[in-house]
């Protein structure tokens, strides 16, 4: 009944040798991953362009981003980490004209600007996690990220980028922040809502010991990428090491202004623009806008918990504005409501101990490539508006900004 025993394995890999080799191999890979996590392998890095970002199946690790920061910021410099979404990532700006490079020039050598923004990420994603994890190593740091009025962020990061928070959390690099712990616990325990949450958490726990993601990312950037992604479907491109792809962001300025605002999306864009502040204000009896108390208190609660108290003072929250091509088409009362929204949101962020600013109130339609993203010219204006804010925050934090 029992099938015959197969012949003994060839002597090249006797069982004990194989087992010892297996264990040794694992140990060597662990050591290797830890070592690689200390090195920066993105030599021409200016931002996480799509081929080294999650949209193409590449998941940067926090250790990898820490190495990027270390390679670009000397201990005597003030570290400026840029987080936020595609607007701050510089979508529509070619890498040589990227707004954060202009910001670096404006701030000078006392500052080191590193762009760690991702498409669709929020205040508490990638850049925020890296900045927090480096708080002791780079105590002179400023974290800058963009959002919209009345838009806080989950202290546990947004869903698509939560792997970064889990990564840093299990490596012990984050502060104890009870609201964040609650978000993460809820995320892990509600596998009916988040089917992959337990697996993601488990992988982050394992990686804290094994550093296999660092090994994998280094390998796939340097030698051979192992999985095709939506942006690399062609087999010739699919397996090419990711460091062999250059940052090839489109240039909005090559698109005529008339073609940037397409009629087929006009109604949708106008709807989004008009609704920016609609739910936060109600028309009062005297015709003036009154705050929606419930929404306002919700925003205050979220903003209070977005970052741990110890990190609020060094966080510059920047409110993005929509393209005036759309906002000018709103009625005067809608425009007035939007202005109130920016002013009140800034007040809330300030009252909670954050630094906060907005940009775009003097921008022209040409400064935008679409409703939100900036052209090179708009990026330069953004840098020019933010540089003084960053300088004054550095002064307020007692960072030495003069040689």
């Amino acid at each position: 009944m029992i099938p015959p025993r197969p012949s003994a394995p060839p002597s090249l890999y006797r069982p004990c040798t194989l087992l010892v080799g297996f264990v040794m191999g694992l140990l060597v890979l662990m050591w290797f991953g830890r070592e690689m996590s200390k090195h920066d392998w993105h030599h021409d890095f200016f931002r996480f362009h799509p081929l080294i970002a999650p949209e193409s199946n590449y998941q940067p690790t926090v250790a990898e981003m820490r190495a990027i920061v270390r390679a670009r910021c000397r201990p005597d410099q003030i570290l400026v980490i840029i987080g936020g979404n595609s607007i701050f990532q510089g979508v529509g700006q070619p890498v040589e004209k990227l707004w954060t490079r202009h910001l670096q020039q404006l701030l000078g050598d006392r500052f080191a600007v590193v762009n760690l923004a991702f498409r669709g990420s929020g205040l508490t994603d990638g850049g925020a996690v890296v900045a927090e994890s480096l708080r002791d190593e780079f105590p002179r740091q400023i974290y800058v990220a963009n959002t919209l009025p009345f838009n806080g962020a989950s202290p546990g990061g947004s869903h698509d980028y939560r792997f970064m928070v889990l990564d840093a959390l299990h490596k012990g690099w984050l502060l104890d922040h009870p609201p964040r712990n609650a978000v993460i616990d809820d995320y892990i325990n509600r596998s009916d809502v988040y089917p992959r949450s337990r697996e993601l958490n488990l992988s982050a726990r394992l990686d804290a010991w094994l550093y296999f993601r660092e090994t994998w990312n280094w390998w796939s950037c340097t030698y051979f990428f192992t999985f095709p992604g939506p942006l690399t479907t062609n087999p010739e491109r699919a397996f090419r090491p990711r460091n062999h792809f250059s940052d090839q962001e489109n240039d909005f300025e090559t698109i005529p202004t008339s073609r940037r605002f397409r009629p087929e999306v006009h109604a949708i864009e106008m709807n989004i623009t008009k609704n920016l502040s609609a739910m936060y204000y109600l028309p009062g009896p005297d015709g003036r806008w009154e705050k929606n108390a419930f929404e306002f208190s919700q925003f205050q609660k979220i903003a209070r918990e977005t970052f741990p108290d110890a990190l609020k003072a060094r966080t510059l929250v920047v409110l993005s504005r929509n393209n005036p091509y759309y906002t000018r088409q709103m009625s005067p009362v809608e425009q007035e409501r939007d202005e109130l929204a920016y002013r009140d949101s800034l007040d809330v962020w300030h009252s909670l101990g954050y630094a906060a600013a907005d940009y775009g109130n003097n921008f022209q339609p040409d400064d935008f490539g679409d409703r939100t993203h900036l052209t090179t010219r708009g990026g330069r204006k953004l840098a020019e508006q933010l540089a003084p804010e960053i300088r004054s925050l550095a002064i307020k934090l007692n960072f030495p900004i003069a040689d």
């Binding site: 029992i2 087992l19 337990r198 999985f227 699919a238």
Partner: protein
């Protein structure tokens, strides 16, 4: 895919380690039983565990009774349970819908309310194993007396999800012998097999899946070479995916000292369709042969009956893979192929004999014809019938 989760890897590593650290074989089996229950509960959820618990208890009791009638009733219950969980909605759509759409809607709604979101974990496999067990007991086989050993036969975690479909005599013998002593041979073979399995599954099959998913919508626009490349990718993907899974299952079982039956033996080197089915999903084709084809009469009642039995057996084999017409069509496609393969030499006018001689002399031509037939069949397996037929036509028309 359970084998590619971190939870499974940690679970399997700890289970193997603790299993061999336990000094006495009897305790090892108890531990293994607990581990299998944990595995099943984790992946199936408490609701998913209930069907297997009930069927396990009934099958065990019927087996112990050795009463032919009880065994038959338990077999019928197992099959009905499988039909309910896996095929109820399909059967309502196929059988009731043409007669009365109103009744079909009412029945579908009522059935949906009763069904869980997904069929119970591994139901296609454990039901076939229970049927085999009861069938053998009816034929005079010795039942498994120990409840623990029966539990291990039912929910042995390496083979629970995707087979191979075990035979209880072989499995129990291997379990009893394997758990007695730690073997470095088993360790080496198991690790090697697991490594090969993961390579096939993660590196080859998953990448091919991506390639196929990306390219299938553009099949019409591809050139002939691109379309044939696509078919090759489909054929390689299913082999690598399924045989990789089997390798992992066999490898983990081997780490526990248990030898599971082989499931694949270079099927794409088969020189005729009969040989293909002796090399592809071996544990399933043997099950179909032993418990459907032979009980139907096999080849004992003349050629027409033999062909009919083959068609029924392979139609059911197709249905086993999923509740959809394309699976049934794929099964019948293979049933027809096997019928032709078994009878073409008897074609009148010496044509069959000549053809047979040519294929005997040139085995390569047999291999090419067989694989062409099998690989085109994968399009029927994976895509709705009209799409598959269109794709097959496009492979021969520029």
């Amino acid at each position: 895919m359970i084998f590619t989760t971190y939870w499974f890897l940690i679970f399997a590593a700890l289970t193997v380690l603790v299993y061999w650290l336990i000094p006495r074989p009897a305790f090892r089996l108890w531990f293994l039983g607990g581990a299998c229950a944990l595995f099943h509960t984790h992946f199936a959820g408490p609701a998913g565990v209930l069907p297997i618990l009930v069927l396990m208890a009934i099958t065990y009791a019927a087996g112990r009774s050795r009463h032919r009638g009880w065994c038959l009733a338990a077999m019928a219950l197992c099959i009905l349970t499988l039909c309910f969980y896996k095929y109820a909605l399909f059967l309502i759509g196929a059988a009731v819908q043409p007669l009365s759409p109103t009744w079909a809607d009412t029945l579908s709604t009522g059935t949906r309310d009763l069904l869980p979101g997904a069929p119970p974990l591994g139901i296609s496999f454990f039901v076939f194993e229970f049927v085999h067990y009861l069938f053998e007991i009816r034929r005079g086989g010795e039942p498994i007396r120990s409840p623990l050993r029966f539990v291990l036969f039912s929910i042995f975690f390496p083979s629970l999800v995707a087979g191979p479909i075990k035979r209880y005599g072989q499995f129990m013998g291997s379990l009893d012998e394997g758990c007695r002593r730690f073997s470095t041979d088993d360790l080496a073979c198991g690790l090697r097999r697991i490594g090969i399995g993961y390579f096939k599954k993660v590196i080859i099959a998953d990448n091919l899946t991506f390639f196929i998913d990306q390219n299938q919508p553009h099949f019409d626009a591809m050139g002939l070479s691109g379309r044939w490349l696509f078919v090759i990718a489909v054929a390689l993907r299913i082999l690598m995916d399924f045989s990789g899974y089997s390798d992992i299952a066999i490898g983990f079982a081997r780490l526990l000292g248990v030898r599971l039956p082989e499931n694949f033996n270079w099927p794409y080197l088969a020189r005729n369709l009969q040989e293909f089915w002796q090399r592809w999903h071996i544990s399933l084709s043997l099950w179909i042969r032993d418990y459907i084809y032979i009980p139907l009469g096999g080849s004992r009642h003349g050629i027409p009956r033999r062909l009919l039995n083959g068609l029924i057996a392979f139609g059911l084999c197709g249905l086993w893979h999923g509740a959809a017409w394309n699976f049934i069509a794929w099964g019948i496609y293979h049933g027809v192929g096997l019928s032709v393969c078994a009878t073409y030499r008897q074609l009148p006018g010496g044509v069959g004999k000549t053809l047979g001689r040519i294929l005997d002399k040139e085995p390569l031509s047999g291999l090419v014809l067989t694989q062409l037939y099998v690989w085109l069949g994968w399009l029927v397996f994976f895509y709705p019938l009209p799409t598959a037929v269109k794709m097959i036509r496009q492979l021969f028309v520029a």
